[in-house]
């Protein structure tokens, strides 16, 4: 059965998929922990995976009321509103992927002052949280750059133009990736073109990538899922198999672009781990335990053709 006794459990559906049987075998009288996940948006597969990880933990833990509150797009004001809602909804802990380090800070401090525990997943904000489970984006970006550098050098292209497709200049995580990516080319003799922004829209990213290709770029970087799909498709459409495309995140579309050789690789984050570990940490803290590792790099894996079966 589900959710007897707990009024707020599981009025949820879709976005806030409450885990099956979350409240069911709870000992009578003991209150469930209310944990709310707030992501940057509801669009990227990435967040779906974070949510999946959370749900997995919730199913194991069996004493959590879980909701996913997602803004419909990356927007600080919306994210802050979600935090306020979580406070009003009497959350015990908030798992949050901060859009940027500053904007959300006051709202989170407000939450903290109400005794709500903050755990960061994917991206942290400036105010201190109980723990952070995220990719080290700058390092991962640099890794992506090194992959591209290696491939270019192997193909004997020691100079040339490189295009960068990013979400916008406001999303801290992707800006860090770009920074890392660019740093890999310092002093290596390549010309990095001015960044173009696509809001993570795959079609827009592709128009931008097409234009880079026309400008004679030898390599293209996509800073998140939508950007990467656009880059991969543009390379595919150009028919130039010697173009090197490198991106971020994993999705079905990205896999097939890697498989058919349009993309060299993608930096696969581990969003499920972020969700799973984040949720577990939240519950530990709420039950009064302390956790050792407060800053966990959930790591990236470089997914190339041979690593995708």
């Amino acid at each position: 059965g589900c959710s007897q006794g707990s009024q707020s459990a599981s009025a949820a559906g879709g976005e806030s998929g409450s885990s099956a049987g979350a409240a069911s075998s709870q000992a009578a009288g003991e209150k469930n922990h209310k944990v709310i996940l707030i992501t940057m948006d509801s669009i990227d597969q990435h967040w779906v995976s974070v949510d999946k990880g959370c749900k997995k933990a919730v199913a194991e833990l069996n004493n959590v009321d879980y909701k996913w509150l997602a803004p419909d797009k990356k927007d600080d004001a919306q994210q802050i509103e979600r935090v306020n809602t979580a406070i009003a909804d009497n959350a015990d802990a908030i798992l949050i992927a901060a859009n940027g380090p500053d904007a959300i800070t006051s709202a989170l401090e407000d939450a903290k002052s109400k005794g709500i525990k903050i755990i960061y997943v994917d991206s942290a904000a400036k105010t201190e949280g109980e723990a952070t489970f995220a990719t080290n984006n700058e390092a991962a970006g640099k890794q992506a750059g090194e992959q591209m550098l290696e491939a270019l050098q192997k193909a004997g292209k020691t100079s040339g133009k490189i295009g960068v497709v990013n979400v916008n200049s406001a999303t801290a995580s992707t800006v860090a990736r770009e920074k890392g990516f660019r740093s890999a080319f310092d002093g290596k003799g390549y010309e990095l073109l001015a960044t173009q922004y696509s809001e993570g829209d795959a079609a827009k990213s592709q128009d931008i990538a097409d234009n880079y290709i026309t400008q004679g770029a030898v390599g293209l970087f996509g800073a998140n899922e939508g950007c990467t799909v656009g880059v991969g498709n543009a390379i595919k459409g150009s028919g130039k198999s010697d173009l090197v495309g490198v991106g971020f995140d994993k999705s079905d579309s990205i896999y097939s672009l890697i498989k058919d050789g349009s993309l060299l690789c993608t930096m696969a984050q581990n969003p499920e781990v972020m969700g799973y570990e984040g949720m577990k940490a939240a519950v530990s803290i709420l039950s009064g335990q302390t956790i050792e590792n407060k800053d966990v790099d959930t790591g990236v894996s470089v997914l190339t053709k041979d690593k995708i079966s």
Binding site: A11, G14, K67, A70, I80, A88, A103, K126, N168, S169
Partner: protein
């Protein structure tokens, strides 16, 4: 006879510019609140009511601005971008060390400039309002981006804590300051619209530009005024947004012009001009805010939320149309019928 008189008085009351719609949607608002309270116990908690009112405030403020413009029969699509501009300019100035008060004043001045530009393009250059403000919408967004060199700003810092409290975090007499700001702006602009000469001129040019002009109304000035009011309201919301985040974000206010139209139109402001009561916008903004907030509490996914909100926008206007249809309507005529002697 007496009941008929009373009936007539009621009918007449309902037929004043937009009163009918206001009554209908207020009823709708109450129903919504009841439904959401039933769906989630936290909805009607003290905490959430304060929160909810604070969420409604910015929508109300831009709704007021849009209502002014709509009553003159025009539209302002630049609202969202002006919010962004205001947010970015004030934040950039503060991060550069300008005192919050000075930063606020400079921001307001620049935003009013957009209003003047809009009004001039529409009234003086006769550019269709939709296109004129579509243009300034794009330009203002560009300005918001260029102001800090295409990056969101850093945190506006501790010296701006007063600013942040004033616009968002602080409370006065138990109510959030944001709510007070909305209340004060509403009262002021309702007074301006309802009780002053300028307000009358706004209705007049929305009802019949030519007749208003021939009655001595300066249509260019009046149009500029409404666009300036709209830009001012957007500017205030931009300052609030800056206070909320404590930093400038370039895409702040995205789509707000549409929320503003929705709030005003749900509240009975005719998009054809000449009619509507500002109090309707309060109800319209409240419906909008309650929907956003309540649907979150009810745990409705984004998709459902959009479908519900869209449907309510359409239905609220549909209701008004249905009500009007049953009201006697005069056909516009080139020649006016006259009833002499026989009229009682």
């Amino acid at each position: 006879m007496e009941t008929k008189d009373r009936q007539n008085a009621w009918k007449r009351f309902m037929s004043i510019r937009g009163v009918g719609q206001v009554v209908t949607v207020t009823a709708g608002l109450i129903v919504l609140c009841i439904v959401f309270s039933m769906l989630s116990s936290s909805f009607y908690s003290e905490r959430n009511v304060g929160n909810l009112l604070r969420q409604i405030a910015p929508i109300l403020i831009i709704g007021i601005g849009q209502a002014y413009v709509l009553i003159t029969g025009n539209i302002d699509l630049s609202i969202g971008s002006v919010v962004g501009m205001s947010c970015m300019i004030s934040a950039t100035l503060m991060t550069k060390g300008v005192a919050p008060f000075a930063a606020t004043m400079i921001t307001i001045l620049i935003c009013l400039g957009v209003g003047v530009l809009n009004g001039t393009l529409v009234a003086k250059c006769k550019v269709p309002p939709f296109i004129a403000t579509l243009g300034t919408m794009t330009i203002a967004r560009g300005v918001a981006q260029i102001v800090n060199n295409n990056y969101n700003t850093d945190a506006i810092g501790d010296s701006a804590q007063g600013f942040r409290n004033l616009f968002y975090y602080g409370k006065t007499l138990g109510l959030y300051n944001t709510i007070w700001i909305a209340v004060i702006l509403f009262l002021a602009f309702d007074f301006l619209l309802g009780k002053t000469r300028t307000g009358r001129h706004i209705y007049a040019i929305g009802s019949n530009m030519e007749a208003a002009k021939l009655s001595g109304v300066n249509s260019v000035n009046t149009t500029v005024i409404v666009y300036v009011v709209s830009a001012f309201c957007a500017c205030v919301v931009g300052l609030i947004t800056c206070a909320i985040a404590g930093m400038g974000t370039m895409d702040a206010g995205n789509m707000y012009e549409m929320y503003a139209v929705a709030a005003a139109a749900i509240g009975g402001i005719s998009t054809f001009g000449g009619e509507g009561l500002l109090v309707g916008t309060v109800v319209g903004a409240s419906i909008w805010g309650v929907l956003q907030n309540g649907l979150q509490f009810a745990g409705a996914p984004v998709a459902i939320r959009n479908i519900v909100i869209g449907t309510i926008v359409v239905i609220s206007v549909l209701l008004d149309v249905v009500i009007r249809k049953n009201k006697p309507r005069k056909k516009a005529k080139r020649v006016l019928p006259v009833q002499v002697g026989s009229a009682k």
